[in-house]
Subunit: 331 residues, 4 copies
């Protein structure tokens, strides 16, 4: 029973279907009919004029988006536990040519205006320090917490006041939007760029970078090619994204993953480190308790000494979630 | 009738099949069973101990391989018309942190020891000039010409004498190997690293980087992650590569593309710029002749004022190749 | 008798004097009184509002200026024999994060609108090729030829039409301005940024980057610090520049070097590869003739098989120039 | 009375003298007689075979040294308050092509094996995290504390065990060596590379990079040129370094600065944040107390809310140090 991650789940049947439908040769790169439909699909989704492009991974999506917001001599304010800081093997340093991550604090890996201001307040020595150029937040956060629209507004207001760009890592944006029950536009808030996650939510190997400021897309197109991310059969990536986005499959899949997580959460009860809002659970468990769970066939990661992480995917079998919930309750 | 390129052809049915067979969740990144089989598959293919890793594009494959051969302050000797120089939007500059391409001459976009030596001879002013660190050749060349094993040996000997790395861009390595009729090992010759093309030869979005010196693979693994090219569902990329490589499909597909090109070539006759060895034809055609062909339904690229380029893919229909051959003969 | 280069000549006594006058501690970096005077000094010199900053070398001056004009994914059009291409060991690749030099042709290492247009005309494949972002010219050129104000206007017009930045490498700007007999503003023409050479013209280790568009200076200040070029005792660099610029010493020194070159040129006569406009001479000489000159005590570089290069500096002794002129005439 | 920093002090008369002695033209770059003497001078100083090169700033010295120890995908362990982290405007990110600084804790900005191990212990997720390639320490530390030879040995042992490079930022190496009273070799310990500070210690604009492993120097020479730091009149930089190093002036100057600091420290007494080992004092002072001192003519920096920083230079006048000591005692 797999609770390791949602990042290796099967591909959704409708996504497979869309990929097959894209098999016949079309124009290469992103000149095919499907790739050309992406701007429109995301403009419809967000209710405003967007530009969107596919790319194979979330790391590349984040980094390419950031190339439009952070100059090589600039800094990116992000949470100390943000994925871009901890899990991308220095990819932002590569894509941003040595730009610096400026680490902020915040409960549950969520940034707050106060946390951001605290970082900015430390930048006082002019040319000797890296100036902040942008802020990055993760929706939902690395601890599975969703930013409320009002929280996004307040961070956006700070960014605007300070003249900073605002990027959202939306590896689990669908899960956050499903939880929030608001429009996609409200779940994104006033960001300039968004990595819209698909791989963890039924896709195979395509994410979308959404430019809510479409003028920013141009630079990213050059950078995508330059990074070897402009695939010649791009139609297969576009097909995945459109299959998820155009008919609501992205929300259906996310809702399924979230529901499973809620069921597990009910069993975990007071052991939960944070409220379960999306499809990740951080559960206080002793080594012995973990061993007991593993002996029952549950696979999951150790987070730290006292905590384990469980992730549910869109493809999880209902009975596995129930079983885990019961097993946790029975500890 | 499509002769624009082989880079947007459909995916081979056996590759689709292998991808479907990989659907069930496995370990993420390249920890799955298929990814782990790649070293073995290429070691078998080349008859020596290799390391191999998948990556989505040929541009990334070339660049990641080159990170193991060229330091940021170094230079890469390549042909003036090499793909890395002309068609990758500066990707080597990005991946190699500003390393310089040192351009050599050679008939049909093939390098020769003389052409390489001529570039090296111009590097005389010590610290003021970029020193050569490696050589890159393309098998088959950008004009569709295959390096003979003996030619590879002589370039390899020069590289060894000069202490230079040797990389092969094998976007159409399969077509070259099929034409040469030699072993894969002979078609690669004494290179350190090889981009083994799959996308143009029946794959969807996976190429292989082969380290004929396996010790070089380690650096490239870090660089792949850092470039956002370590996909979480890497099993789908490995599946494509293995489907092509393990049972000879790579050669079958290449042979089909080559055969179609030969049929077209027979019709083109004296109009050919170069002998047709693989699946690309460069044909002298006036603007009027091109218009006439296009009116008959043939799609192809203008190469320059007096020449058009035709490419056949593994999926080309026999009657299309025949039709083009006849149409050219009839001009 | 030293004709190797002007780049290792002694420091002018007035420059030494200015440096000594700057010895008393002042604010560090460029917060001292002298550094703060640089904008004003160059605004006066060019008769328009400029920003200026010191930096230790011409390579750094060129590269820092270019960071304001060329993005990492862009290209810089320059002459095939431009110093940035041939003699800076890839420094532009480092400072511009892998941006590409796009090489143009032109007699005597001078660019022309036609030569530039010819490079631009080859950029036709969109995202697959590096787009031009700026043009760099050298005043005087690498063969010692000065751009006339009208030539600068025509290149500037092309740059404006094409939306390209325009940089001038002025390692020997003083020599060109002295030869042209025009105002500094006319000798610079419509460039955005200028490396104003001092080291070859009486300075010790300071060049000036002049931003004829002052808004561009801000980015370069960050990049200068980031490149380790913001010296803490910057007052000594400012002192050198001001000593040369504020009272016309830069022109006096250049005139002396140019006059010496003219004297040599008179002796070289028909052996000259190009007319001698500044302080460099390229003279056709056989190996035997060179040996004969060296036997007479003249030191100079071989340029290529049939040509030797002679450079006169501000500090050259009149009798050395006379002697060389006579020796050449006597060959 | 200037206690702001030692980085803008006058140039020592003997350094001026050496620079004047170098005025006559010699070979450019580092081909002159003085530059060629540097390896020998430092080999004599450290009692072992060293390579040494000049460079204009400490930031460049640190970064160029680090290019020989840290690959672009690697990490550098340094103190959270190290100069490379806090005061170089991201220069390591630029020179190391996006390599990451991995921040360790330690009292008084000194690293300990435990602090380093704690950082290394957090690197557990393989390819997803930046691997450590080297360690950087500052001698004396950013709080003016000197590493004892035994402390250096223990850090060196850890580095060796872990296969990490070891760099020392010696902006105030002279002050540390003077305090420690040991040989230069003991004050450097088992480091691979050392930035040997001269600018703060009587020089004008030259530091030395010392390669205690001489084989590492070659890469740095290319990188220096590529960074625009290879000055054509390098003899003036070499002259400064040699003037300080060859006859012990570096220690004389450092001793003077340290002695002045000790005199101030005697007055500061219990207000000192750390014992005063070199020429920096961190003194607990209320805003009112600082205002009072400034009213008496003392210039110094606020360090943080409760602390002010005072730095003495080699050129400080004895009576100024006495006056400050008394003023502090009188508060």
């Amino acid at each position: 029973m797999q609770f390791l991650s949602d990042n290796a789940a099967p591909v959704h049947p409708l996504v497979w279907e869309a990929m097959h439908a894209a098999d016949a040769a079309d124009a290469p790169y992103d000149n095919d009919a499907l790739s050309k439909r992406m701007d429109e699909a995301f403009s419809a989704l967000f209710g405003r004029n967007c530009a969107a492009m596919w790319v194979a991974t979330g790391t590349a999506a984040n980094c390419l988006a950031l190339t439009t917001l952070v100059a090589p001599h600039g800094g990116l304010v992000c949470h100390r536990e943000a994925h871009v800081e901890t899990d991308e093997c220095g990819a932002p340093g590569f894509y941003l040519h040595g730009a610096k991550l400026l680490l902020a604090e915040g409960e549950g890996a969520k940034l707050t205006p106060q946390g951001i201001e605290s970082v900015l307040a430390g930048i006082t020595r002019g040319i000797h320090q890296v100036p902040a150029h942008a802020i990055a937040i993760t929706q939902a956060s690395e601890y599975g917490l969703a930013y409320r629209p009002q929280e996004l507004e307040s961070i956006g207001a700070l960014a605007a006041t300070r003249g900073l760009g605002l990027h959202m890592d939306g590896a689990r944006f669908a899960n956050a939007a499903s939880f929030l029950g608001c429009t996609p536009d409200e779940a994104a808030g006033p960001v300039d760029t968004l990595s819209f996650g698909c791989v963890k939510n039924g896709g195979m190997d395509s994410e979308a970078i959404v430019f809510l400021d479409p003028a920013k897309a141009d630079i990213a197109r050059w950078r995508r090619k330059r990074a070897g991310h402009l695939q010649s059969k791009g139609r297969f990536l576009a097909a995945q994204v459109l299959a998820l986005v155009e008919d609501g499959l992205w929300l259906t899949n996310a809702a399924a993953a979230n529901a499973a997580a809620r069921e597990v959460a009910a069993g975990a009860g007071a052991r939960l480190l944070y409220p379960v809002e999306v499809n990740e659970l951080f559960v206080r468990l002793s080594p012995e308790e973990r061993a007991a769970l593993r002996a029952q066939g549950f696979a999951f990661y150790d987070w730290d000494e006292g905590t384990a992480r469980f992730v549910t995917s869109w493809a999880i079998r209902q009975e596995h979630a129930s079983a885990l919930g019961k097993a946790l309750a029975a500890l």
